[in-house]
């Protein structure tokens, strides 16, 4: 068993990671959806490839966190970092990989001049809210509304 802390490298997202991200997503959600990740990874690379990060162990990606900096949304004038999709390979959870990814992406967002970072978590996803609370996020007053069409 390798020493995880030392052997895991947190680095910017690259197109080479698509296959591994598809696997993590399939492991956590049970559905194989390569097209979704081709589009998404393409999108984040196009936007700013230095914000999104992956955790790699021996050249295999075992965690990812994708996001970007935007402004002018929801009346939020200041440029805001958004963490939009993430996942840690279920085999590697609970070993601070999510935390390390989070710390890196926060730093990268800060380097782009944003002073706030936001994310949206489904009320039922206790693990994700627990995770973001542990990373220092607080519930925001902005409340999402939705209706079907």
């Amino acid at each position: 068993m390798p020493d995880l802390d030392e052997d895991i490298l947190i680095r910017p997202l690259s197109e080479v990671d698509i296959g591994d991200i598809v696997e993590i997503d399939e492991k956590q959600g049970g559905i194989y959806r390569p097209e979704v990740w081709e589009q998404r990874v393409g999108y984040y690379l196009r936007r700013d490839p230095e914000i999104s990060v992956v955790a790699s162990l021996e050249d295999r990606v075992i965690g990812f966190m994708l996001g970007e900096v935007r402004s002018g949304e929801f009346g939020l004038e200041e440029s805001t970092g958004w963490i939009e999709v993430l996942g840690v390979d279920p085999e590697f959870r609970g070993q601070s990989i999510g935390r390390r990814l989070g710390e890196q992406i926060l730093e990268r967002i800060k380097n782009r001049g944003a002073t706030t970072v936001r994310t949206l978590v489904d009320a039922g996803q206790e693990d994700l809210s627990g995770f973001f609370l542990a990373l220092g996020f607080e519930p925001a007053p902005l409340k999402p509304y939705v209706r079907t069409l």
Binding site: E15, P34, P49, R70
Partner: protein
Amino acid sequence: MTTAATTLPGKFHDAVIRWQETYLSDFDFLVDNWEKYFPNDQRFRLCAYREQGICGEIECGELEGQPKFTQACDMDPKRAHQLLGAIRAQASTEFGSIQQHRLTLARAQHEQDQMWVLRMMAEELRHGYQMLHLLLDDDWSHVSEISSADMVEEILSMTTGSHVLGAFNIDFDSFVDNVVFCALIDRVGKFQLAMQQVSAYKPMAESMPPMLREEAFHLATGVVPMRRWVTQAAQGEVYVTMEGLQRAWNKWLPRGLEMFGDERGGGTNVRLGLKPMKNKEAQEGYYKECGKVLRDLNMRYLRARLPKLSRNEAIRALDRILEGEVVQGVGREALLHLPDQRFYRRRGLPAFEMIGTQGEVFEDVAAYTQHLSETLPESYRASADFRGYVDLLRQVNGGEVTAHEASSRAPALRRVGGSCPCSKSVRWVVDSPAESSSLETPLATP
């Protein structure tokens, strides 16, 4: 992180604009439709960027720990000369790739693929511009008899066939080349730019991060369509076949490997603090990464071809097929294979060795050229580039020239601007604003 943006002095900026009007005539279309295809993305700007706040100390080599050079004249001639060569070669590749992409850009089947390639071309133009900025923003006269203005003229005057590196002297035959080139040749670019981030010459190091950010998108421009193509191929579509894709990989990968320079070299760059890795080490990293891309493509193919397999079953099936088994009708020949590093090489350690795609050793030229005809794209085999290689191979085998001599005759080593730019009737860099009629003249050049 902040970047500072600058533009070239007027006549040089205008020269690049004239070049763009000739070789990247779809540029205006890109600009006009930017929001449609790249909503909210930072708009493209033709300028040079310098990253602020990078490491100020030399990171490798004999001067490690000392402050990075901010001016060429502070460098010893050897270092400055080496660097100048690298900047000119890099500029040549950036402009050269646009000349290649333009040939087949219109043939894309998908609008998104086409627009991504078009954006990538505009960014290559910016990369070329960035390198011209490095030439013009400093004084290189202690290591070059040619003025910076003439160096710019030389670079803008190069066409497919007279570029510094072999990969940029090969015409594209279809949109498959646009895509495979992005995935394989821009990947070399990524490795080179990443290495040059440590450059002992600070303006070079500062130029790299913005270029690398753009390069990440270029690689996606190559890999994402390929993933879609292999899926379609697995589903029985007839557009881009696995064999067609394999042949394109066979065409480009050897040129990509050669862009790292001779496998025995690169020590000088490390010693001079210009790059942190020797050629072989960087080339190995590149080859390994290409292998990863290829395995993912095979997996994507297999899962589309045998959709009932679970993830774990598919992983096992892929390994078994690669070992030669036939699984549910899928055999080894259905998949993509990474060409051997020595296949079809004309520079470096294995230059003119007769090694097949899978490492087979050929003893006789006729058998080897037959192998090449079975593994390279048919359209490419009709090219001057391929013919030139076969002629040299025959000479090497006939004992007329050594492999080393043949390497230096390959287009890859053609000198930057073999002819004096002053002798050209058309100049890109002009002192007074050009008349509109003169803008059209260069169109005849390619």
